[in-house]
């Protein structure tokens, strides 16, 4: 019991110290090292957005394909289903001319976007390691788990109806002068509005 009390007391003085430092830092300001500025501090949205746009253009020039994400996910999923004995290649969605079907001799697993998705995950891992911000996260509550699963299912299903997620259906669609990107953008705002209402009502307790 006494140990617990001491710990609490120490914590209090730490907070006081931190708050004092917070006040003095606010007054004096602090010079950041370049290393910190590039690897640790969040980049301005303009910088990140411009780099993504340039990379997408380079990808299009080199491969004749634009950046997509969920295309790879759906093909990976179909590959797993095939492995457990189902025949997704005969499903209506894959057999119709949606751009997601297979040509002769093609397999679900040979989708370039699966490799891109893996590369995105590796890249994200590297950036968190460089910033020394890597951390295993856990599920906070049952409610968070259920809502995340439900949200993931809805997003995954909706990407198939709208020819992609916010990358394939929006980020890559608008620069390709495709109308569906603008329709996607409009309804993304509607969805975000509805989603935030649900979030405030049910998740913010």
């Amino acid at each position: 019991m006494s140990g617990k009390f001491i710990l609490k007391k120490q914590n209090k003085s730490i907070y006081l110290f931190r708050y004092k430092r917070f006040v003095t830092q606010r007054k004096g300001g602090e010079v950041l090292k370049n290393h910190d500025r590039i690897l640790k501090k969040p980049w301005p949205y303009m910088v990140g957005g411009s780099i993504l746009a340039i990379l997408n253009i380079i990808l299009f020039i080199l491969t004749d394909k634009v950046w997509r994400v969920t295309s790879g996910v759906v093909h990976l999923g179909a590959y797993v289903l095939e492995k457990i004995g189902l025949r997704p290649s005969e499903w209506y969605y894959f057999s119709q001319n949606t751009g997601e079907g297979l040509g002769t001799g093609e397999m679900f697993i040979y989708n370039p976007y699966i490799i891109m998705n893996a590369a995105i995950i590796v890249g994200a891992l590297l950036s968190t390691l460089w910033a020394s911000e890597f951390k295993w996260k856990r599920i906070k509550s049952g409610k968070q788990f259920v809502f995340a699963l439900l949200g993931g299912f809805l997003m995954g299903y909706a990407t198939r109806l709208s020819f992609g997620c916010n990358i394939g259906g929006y980020f890559s669609a608008i620069p390709s002068f495709s109308l569906h990107g603008w329709v996607f953008a409009l309804f993304m705002f509607v969805g975000a509005w509805v989603g935030s209402k649900i979030l405030i009502k049910y998740l913010l307790t």
């Binding site: 931190r18 917070f22 830092q25 969040p42 910033a131 951390k135 996260k137 935030s196």
Partner: protein, 75 residues
């Protein structure tokens, strides 16, 4: 001058921001809100939003990938 801690660990955008918004409404001018987070977007979007609202704000990284954002309600 009260000091309020807000646990936003393991929460992703936009929950930390919405929680901070809700908490700040209940607080008095001069009170300090300490927001604990392990979501690196929060040190961008929460800090930007708080600055825009005109409050005083700063943050430090306590452990690898864990931050505390200090918000002093200014108005």
């Amino acid at each position: 001058m009260a000091e309020v801690r807000l646990d936003c660990m393991y929460e992703a955008c936009p929950i930390p921001l919405l929680k901070a918004h809700k908490k700040l409404q209940q607080m008095e001018i001069g009170d300090v809100l300490i927001l604990e987070t392990d979501h690196n977007c929060s040190i961008k979007n929460v800090v930007d939003w708080v600055k825009k609202q005109g409050h005083n704000v700063d943050y430090i990284e306590l452990n690898e990938g864990e931050w505390e954002i200090y918000i002093e309600k200014a108005k």
